[in-house]
């Protein structure tokens, strides 16, 4: 069986079959990763990741691990999307505050006070969620995560511990 890196070399030469094989090989892992990172846009990001892989294929160094490179691209896309959402969320928040401050507005209490794991993961700050998903669900080592996320290895470790702490803190019913 061809290694990922061998397949990627063929993709660099324009081999469609090799690209299809790589996409199939990483379909569950990549989609699972994107579902944890950006559940509401995972299918679009899945497609976008592979388009970026194709566009950047000549910059791939076959001496590197393909999986690290792939997740680096996917993670960067998630970050870009997170940034865009924060900007949009900022506008929405301003609008909500304007509505709340209007006379006669009644604050509605949240229906579900206890967050399930899905919501707790979603509520984690992005920098913590990305390392936790890569470590727990993909069982990647700290060195690989450091390369994917682009931070020092020591920072990966401290962020992982912070993520676990944040999840635990969220666990208590409010």
């Amino acid at each position: 069986m061809n290694s990922d890196e061998q397949l990627m070399r063929r993709v660099q030469r324009g081999d469609e079959g090799a690209l299809g094989e790589l996409m199939e090989r990483y379909r569950p892992r990549l989609f699972g990763f994107l579902m944890k990172r950006a559940p509401d846009a995972a299918d679009d990001l899945f497609q976008e990741t592979w388009i970026r892989v194709v566009r950047a294929r000549d910059s791939f160094d076959p001496e590197r691990r393909f999986s690290t490179w792939l997740f680096q691209i996917a993670n960067n896309l998630c970050r870009d999307r997170g940034r865009r959402r924060r900007v949009e969320e900022g506008y929405l928040q301003t609008a909500r505050e304007e509505v709340k401050s209007a006379p006669g507005f009644l604050e509605t209490p949240p229906l579900d006070l206890r967050l399930d794991m899905h919501r707790r993961l979603a509520a984690l700050p992005e920098r913590l969620r990305e390392v936790l998903v890569l470590r727990y669900y993909h069982q990647l080592g700290e060195a690989d995560i450091a390369e994917i996320v682009g931070i020092p290895r020591g920072t990966v470790k401290s962020r992982l511990h912070s993520a676990v702490r944040a999840l635990r803190d969220q666990e208590a019913p409010s």
Partner: protein
């Protein structure tokens, strides 16, 4: 938190992240320490929650859509294939290169002969150091000229080979 407890709790988190059970000594410690026991119970609950998270499959239709988009991108960004060499190009190239290839040893031999006979002729009249220096300069100049001239021949030769083929191919 005491020093051993901090270490125990950190190792428990590491075990959770690696999806394995904490080490026996740490678990034994947790049995006799309220804080570490509470930490262990929290982490166990957390692990159960993380494991219960669904791992959804990408629907086939979406996978197909992504494949089609990636293939289209690959086709759009592929380098255009190089035009194949015309038939008989190799034979023509050998013919064009044959003349300079035969000429090269003659040029080298001629220059070597010039150096040899000049040295013989001037040996008594010119000091040896001057003769050696002049010989070295001559050899360098002749070698450089030959390298420049013959280095360009393959480029010219392949153009000439193509031209000849164009003339005979309708």
């Amino acid at each position: 938190m005491s020093e051993p407890c901090a270490g125990v709790q950190e190792r428990m988190v590491e075990a959770l992240l690696a999806q394995r059970d904490a080490g026996a000594p740490d678990l034994a410690h947790a049995e006799s320490c309220d804080a570490c026991r509470a930490h262990r119970d929290d982490l166990m609950a957390l692990r159960a929650g993380l494991d219960a998270e669904p791992w959804p499959e990408l629907p086939e239709a979406l996978a197909e859509r992504a494949r089609a988009a990636a293939f289209a991108e690959l086709a759009a960004t592929a380098e255009p294939a190089r035009a194949p060499l015309p038939e008989g190009f190799g034979r023509q190239l050998v013919r064009v290169l044959a003349a300079p290839a035969l000429l090269l040893p003659v040029i080298v031999a001629w220059n070597a002969a010039v150096l040899f006979f000049a040295a013989e002729l001037l040996a008594g009249a010119v000091p040896a150091a001057v003769l050696t220096t002049a010989g070295a300069f001559y050899a360098l100049a002749a070698g450089g000229s030959v390298a420049l001239l013959f280095g360009s021949i393959p480029f010219v030769a392949q153009l000439e080979a193509r031209r000849r083929l164009c003339e005979v191919t309708p």
